[in-house]
């Protein structure tokens, strides 16, 4: 079924009786050409691009719970391409380009909205760092505009320019930055993959990875054994446990990141605003809720929930930066499991086991990466070669010290990125 305004109209006039499942619920087959462990954004996108870019349709996505139940369904939906280190720049730049055609590509409205992202800076040193970043973005062909204090005031007149503990010196505007409807991204990729013949198997937990003489043979699951010549681990915060099934230890520590949404409000924040001094970022959803967050809780956790100290710190940052949001009420708080790497950048690579691939380490920035991660991992799985946009995301870079991509500059302590 093709979705369109016309279809909505037609169904509305005929009692909405013609809608069909967005995807099937197939029984897993005994064998596939490739199996993707993890039905989150990255896994679903990988399946979609394996089918659409490489014609591999005899594949399955195995999901422990329901599709889209991981971080794709619990993030703060920011889409941007404002990285400054080689390795990241080309990847996120490519991802943003994919976002810009995603609705039409998937025939699903993921509500990608380029409303502009503004990173504020609060000292001369921070300005220099953001200038370096902005120039890297322009070198890459993306967009960036340097705003001085008055420039920021034009965009964000509601900031507290007079009393802020760390005064606003200016900001780096990324006009193409913005947001999207996170669940719809998972569903759009799921539907697209399903339409191309991919089996999406929900409630199917992988319990083992079958390896013979260094070659992957398939997986064991709660719904039986499945043979596959190629297996990809795309399990984000749970990567450690799944990789352990293949005898691997990963450079990953899983941490909790909280996020918050307020009750619905009439439009008041039109951009994505990021306040580096307070580790605070905020945007407003189309439904009207202020969606915001801050830093990790800082302790390793799989609980998908956090504690008050960081929650309060996030509110504090909001109150000092834009005290007009004080009377907005937090409706819900939640947490996601972040697969933190020693340099804050991801891994898309083969492993020492032939046929076994891994895509992980997205830290707290995986949402915007979904399209390009899917393209890159699909390319690697189908061709055996790293995609040029993800050539830097190597698993061995920590061991060799070559090509470390540390945007924060905080080094190998996982939780500091």
């Amino acid at each position: 079924m093709k979705f369109s305004g016309l279809r909505v109209l037609k169904e509305g006039l005929t009692g909405n009786r013609g809608w069909t499942p967005h995807w099937r619920d197939p029984e897993p087959k005994a064998e596939y050409d490739a199996v993707i462990i993890g039905g989150g954004g990255h896994g679903l996108a990988t399946a979609y691009y394996l089918a659409s870019n490489h014609g591999m349709t005899n594949i399955a996505v195995l999901e422990k719970g329901y599709i889209g139940s991981g971080n794709i369904g619990r993030n703060t939906t920011i889409v941007r391409a404002n990285y400054f280190l080689p390795g990241n720049s080309e990847f996120y730049s490519h991802s943003l380009k994919l976002w810009e055609g995603l609705e039409q590509d998937l025939n699903y409205n993921v509500m990608h909205s380029r409303r502009g992202l503004i990173n504020l800076f609060h000292s001369d040193g921070q300005r220099d760092a953001f200038v370096r970043r902005g120039n890297a973005m322009l070198n890459q062909g993306d967009d960036a505009v340097l705003l001085d204090r008055e420039g920021v005031r034009k965009y964000l007149p509601y900031l507290d320019f007079d009393n802020l503990r760390f005064p606003v010196y200016g900001g780096l505007l990324h006009p193409r930055g913005g947001s999207a409807r996170h669940d719809a991204v998972a569903w759009g990729y799921a539907r697209g993959a399903d339409q191309r013949g991919v089996d999406l198997v929900q409630n199917c937990e992988v319990t083992g990875i079958d390896i013979e003489r260094g070659v992957v043979k398939g997986v064991q699951t709660t719904r039986g054994a499945i043979r596959a010549r190629k297996v990809a681990i795309v399990t984000a915060g749970r990567s450690g446990q799944v990789a352990a099934m293949a005898g691997m230890r990963l450079p990953i520590e899983s941490h909790v990141l909280q996020a918050f949404v307020t009750e619905g409000l009439k439009p008041v924040i039109d951009h994505v605003v990021s306040f580096g001094m307070g580790h605070f970022y905020i945007s407003q959803s189309d439904k009207g809720g202020l969606v915001f967050g801050g830093d990790l809780d800082f302790y390793a956790s799989y609980a998908q929930r956090g504690n008050l100290p960081m929650a309060e710190h996030v509110m504090e940052a909001g109150m000092t930066l834009m005290p007009m949001i004080g009377k907005a009420k937090v409706l819900r708080s939640w947490g996601g499991i972040m697969d933190m790497t020693p340099d804050g950048s991801p891994i898309i690579d083969r492993t020492d086991t032939e046929g076994l691939f891994i895509d992980c380490g997205w830290c707290y920035g995986g949402f915007k990466a979904v399209p390009a991660s899917g393209v890159a991992l699909a390319h690697l799985m189908a061709t055996g070669q790293s995609h040029e946009i993800a050539a830097g995301f190597r698993l061995d870079r920590f061991r060799t010290g070559r090509g470390i991509i540390d945007e924060e500059g905080t080094g190998s302590q996982h939780n500091l990125h």
Binding site: V110, W187, E316, S333
Partner: protein, 978 residues
């Protein structure tokens, strides 16, 4: 309208307030909702999507319909529950999400278009033409969405945060909570009782229950009075426990002043509490749930328990002719209470075939359901469908009850999943879901008053015993103990739209459509339909929606699963949770001892981490910062300058193994440093990158003072403790941060010794204080320290006295410097001086650079291990083609350099593929008369003498530069040593 002789309101104290600019009156004790109902005002809001007219549904914080905006200007607060907000004189209430008026809302046209606006319709359309989403559709949707509006003005109200500690936290002061408090209180336990309402008692205040032969509300009041007399019991009203967190931590929001016309002096509007409790008893009661039937959302249709609450608690009859519809015996009391109060009951409709109805004075319809309703802005009648077909019943209020849901929410905050109980058709807490917390009473599925009292008592006894105390005998009072009889009824079949989630306009049809489209997981259904995502977070609707989904997918309810309740239980304002941070309160402010003097001298104070430091010291006639900066640089290069460097971290290190310890944390060797000498040290992280740098002075055989950069002071202190306690516990060494204990000033320039000899008690000379010497000194008899070190590259010292003398010393030094043709210099000049000298700061050691990159590879001693040494030797860390530190000098017509610009080969396009590096620091060097810069360039030291291109796209500046060594002034250090 009011009913005589009922309610806990004070009829001797009328209160005037406004709703949509019309004046109303109520009584003290009224909420906005009860007062409006008393005035016959049923329409109070509009729904989110279809803008359906809505009245009040509940009598509590779970209200999904009657959300209003309170206050004006900066005090404007959107999305206030009319059912919670107490009225006070002058209260200004407005309806929201309706235009031009609540009664005539243009957006209610959406309701006519409902066939096209079903579950998830927006995922299927608005995709063509491509550009229209951002330009047209989204802006229109955004404007239509949202509930109330923020004022857009800075918050001006006071909010607070506080901590509380107790042995036993009792959440909810209904019969179970009060009984628990009584038992624990009498046993002497440190008890904190928290209740959301203004008056304790819970449902006892809303029902006509009798306890020990007196009204339930009177029993509650008597218990509260006794508890108030106990020193070990604290009672908090108007306080909602909003979250359960680890190790017995709970969040709570206290509404301190929102019910008052005038705020007491200094009192906050709200206080956000962090409560730490050894044990907790959850006695949060239960919430009644609606029944889905066609058009069940009209103003006048409300929960049966709410109707009783308005009647018994506030003396308000929500209608003149009230019908009652339920699937359980509890609903029947609504009819009897109303009849007793003299309100006409149009009929009692019970869906159960064999329902036993006591009470008289109203028609009874068993085996019957309400299948529809009429009335545009308020209910006029209902369609009753029974064994004998349809018939219409005229009514202006319908009290409905689909049964009660235990308020399990807090037990789910730590990932607990509730357990389904078939007999009550509801979820109850799973024991152990929150460590240290037990549920008692209605929130645990015990619905009779007697059962609640017994459960509260038992829970308290267990806690007292657990805490090692002893309970005295507390007898249970007599109370009703009627068994709860219910037959599940979630949705009445039939045509038309039957609402589940009232605010978000999610109907039974929507849930069924979601199931058809394979959004069969309860989480998928929620996210696809927005069921349960409104401001009540599904408190009213989740269980029924789950049941409808279970039915649509052919599963049982427990098998279908639940979505997750997460904090907060009721929404909490950002201002309360972030109280104290507005303005400068966000972070501590650290001031040096010279701060006041610097401000006096007109210096702009700039943030340096948490510190404030002077940017420059302007002189009369200077119009730009550059003029001041150039002058101050000249002081240092030509005469003498004075600068406060106290913000640098200072760590006192003592012990027999102090030297060995330093050898391990620094790349270079300190054990060979002589007493009375200073050495520059480089510190790595264990991953081989540069962590920090600074000088360390050896004041004695076992005594060192380390300086760190301002930014890294805390990190380094923590790192030293880590290395000592965790990696080298055998070392006998101790550290103390002495940053605040010493005021330290750089005295730099060719005349620095001359200045010092003017003020030091014992003069110094070339031999007694050579370059890198240190030791004790004194100024005006005050013992201090003197270091011959230089960040500026000049002949320089740093003199330190105990902080209390800092201001005087700074005044003295500046005065003397001025008499020697010098003066104070600030951060701008400091930065220029260090760039001229090629000294690095965190602009260069930004966490990604190695000793190799900054040209200090040889500082890593080959003779010993140190933190970071092994990882610094990885192949990728010493690749000559890494980006390495160099200096830049402009050589073309453009002379301007900017930090953050990138470096390219001449002739190459300025794109990422050709990127060769970036500029970290720039300055105009008054000493050299042109701009200079520091940069990291691929293979840097191998490019000396090459001309490259520096491009700043953002500022549209391109500059040809010569790559040079990163030391521009006095490369062989003659001036420093001089």
């Amino acid at each position: 309208m009011r009913v005589d002789d009922k309610g806990l309101i004070d009829r001797s104290r009328p209160v005037r307030f406004q709703f949509d600019t019309i004046g109303y009156s109520g009584f003290e004790g009224d909420t906005v909702a009860s007062a409006l109902l008393a005035n016959g005002q049923r329409l109070m809001g509009r729904s989110f999507k279809y803008h359906r007219p809505r009245g009040v549904l509940t009598a509590g914080s779970e209200e999904p319909n009657a959300l209003v905006t309170v206050g004006r200007g900066a005090a404007q607060e959107p999305n206030v529950r009319a059912t919670v907000q107490e009225i006070h004189s002058g209260l200004d209430v407005r309806s929201q999400n309706a235009w031009p008026s609540l009664k005539t809302d243009v957006m209610s046209l959406n309701d006519l278009a409902w066939p096209f606006l079903g579950a998830g319709f927006y995922y299927k359309t608005f995709m063509w033409p491509k550009a229209f989403w951002e330009k047209l559709y989204e802006p229109v949707i955004r404007r239509a969405a949202g509930l109330g509006a923020l004022s857009g003005r800075h918050n001006r109200d006071k909010y607070e945060r506080a901590y509380a500690f107790c042995d036993l936290l009792i959440i909810g002061a209904g019969p179970a909570g009060l009984m628990a408090a009584l038992v624990a209180g009498r046993a002497g336990v440190d008890v904190l009782v928290v209740d959301e309402d203004r008056v304790m008692g819970g449902r006892l205040n809303a029902e006509t229950y009798v306890i020990d032969a007196e009204p339930g509300s009177a029993w509650a009041a008597a218990v509260v009075a006794e508890l108030q007399g106990m020193a070990n019991v604290r009672l908090m009203t108007r306080t909602t426990v909003t979250g359960a967190y680890d190790q017995g931590t709970y969040a709570a929001l206290e509404r301190v002043s929102s019910h008052l016309p005038e705020r007491a002096d200094g009192a906050p509007l709200e206080t956000f509490w962090r409560i730490v409790a050894r044990r907790a008893i959850l006695a949060s009661g239960a919430l009644e749930r609606p029944v889905a039937f066609a058009d069940n959302d009209r103003p006048g249709i409300m929960m049966a328990g709410a109707v009783r609450a308005y009647l018994n608690r506030w003396g308000v009859a929500p209608g003149q002719r009230v019908a009652v519809f339920g699937n359980n015996d509890d609903a029947h009391r609504t009819a009897t209470d109303l009849v007793e109060a003299g309100v006409e009951v149009a009929g009692l409709i019970d869906s159960r075939p064999g329902a036993q109805v006591t009470g008289t004075g109203f028609p009874v319809y068993t085996s019957s359901v309400v299948a529809g309703s009429t009335g545009r802005h308020g209910l006029t009648g209902i369609a009753v469908q029974g064994p004998n077909g349809h018939h219409r019943v005229e009514a202006d209020c319908l009290a409905m009850s689909g049964g009660w849901n235990p308020t399990v929410h807090l037990t789910c905050h730590m990932n607990g999943r509730p357990t389904w109980r078939e007999d009550i058709a509801g979820f109850v807490p799973t024991p152990g879901s929150v460590p240290g917390l037990v549920a008692a009473g209605a929130c645990n599925g015990d619905f009779s008053t007697a059962a609640c009292l017994a459960a509260g008592s038992a829970a308290a006894k267990a806690v007292v015993k657990d805490l090692g105390g002893k309970t005295t005998r507390v007898s249970l009072p007599d109370a009703e103990d009627k068994a709860y009889q219910i037959a599940p009824l979630w949705a009445v079949p039939g045509k038309g739209r039957a609402w589940l989630d009232f605010q978000n306009d999610v109907t039974v049809k929507d849930v069924k459509q979601a199931a058809t489209e394979n959004f069969r997981s309860v989480e998928h259904m929620k996210r696809y339909t927005t069921q349960g995502m409104a401001t009540d977070q599904g408190k009213n609707s989740n269980v029924a929606a789950l049941a409808v989904l279970a039915d649509a997918t052919g599963r049982a309810i427990p098998e279908t699963g639940t979505t997750t309740f997460r904090p907060p239980y009721t929404p909490v304002s950002i201002a309360a949770m972030g109280a104290g941070a507005q303005g400068a309160g966000f972070a501590p402010q650290r001031y040096t001892t010279s701060h006041a003097v610097s401000v006096e001298m007109g210096a702009p104070m700039i943030e340096a981490g948490l510190w404030y430091r002077p940017g420059y010291f302007p002189r009369k006639g200077e119009t730009t910062w550059r003029q001041a900066c150039d002058r101050e640089v000249e002081y240092v290069r030509e005469a003498v300058g004075v600068c406060d460097v106290s913000t640098l971290g200072k760590i006192d290190i003592q012990g027999p193994d102090a030297a060995a310890f330093l050898d391990f944390v620094y790349t270079n060797t300190f054990s060979t440093l002589k007493v009375g000498r200073v050495r520059y040290g480089l510190m790595l992280r264990e991953d081989g990158h540069v962590m920090d740098d600074g000088t360390t002075a050896r004041l004695g055989e076992q005594h060192f003072v380390m300086t760190t950069t301002t930014a890294a002071a805390g990190n380094v202190m923590r790192h030293l403790e880590f290395v000592h306690q965790v990696l080298r516990p055998e070392f006998d060494v101790r550290f103390t941060s002495v940053t605040e204990q010493w005021a330290q000033f750089a005295v730099a320039g060719p005349r620095s010794r001359e200045l010092l000899n003017d003020i030091l008690d014992a003069p110094i000379d070339k031999d007694s204080w050579p370059f890198m010497a240190c030791g004790e000194t004194s100024v005006a008899g005050i013992a201090g320290r003197l270091f011959r070190i230089s960040f500026s590259g000049e002949h320089a010292y740093e003199v330190a006295l105990p902080s209390r003398y800092g201001e005087s010393l700074f005044r003295l030094l500046v005065k003397r410097a001025e008499s020697l043709s010098g003066g104070a210099y600030g951060m701008e000049a400091l930065n220029v001086l260090r760039i001229e000298k090629g000294h690095i700061t965190h602009a260069e050691i930004h966490g990604r650079t190695t000793a190799f990159d900054i040209g200090f590879a040889r500082m890593i001693s080959t003779k010993k291990d140190c933190i970071g040494k092994t990882m610094a030797a990885r192949e990728g860390m010493v690749d000559p083609m890494r980006e390495r530190l160099v200096g830049l000098k402009p050589v073309g017509p453009v002379k301007q350099l900017t930090a953050g610009a990138h470096v390219f080969e001449r002739g190459a396009a300025a794109i990422r593929e050709n990127d060769r590096g970036y500029v970290t620091s720039v300055a105009f060097s008054p000493t050299l008369g042109h701009s200079i810069g520091l940069a990291f360039v691929r293979g840097g030291p191998e490019r000396l003498g090459d001309v490259m291109r520096v491009v700043d796209h953002l500022r549209d500046i391109e500059t040809d530069v010569e790559i040079c060594a990163p030391v521009f002034v006095d490369p062989d250090g003659g001036r420093t040593r001089g």
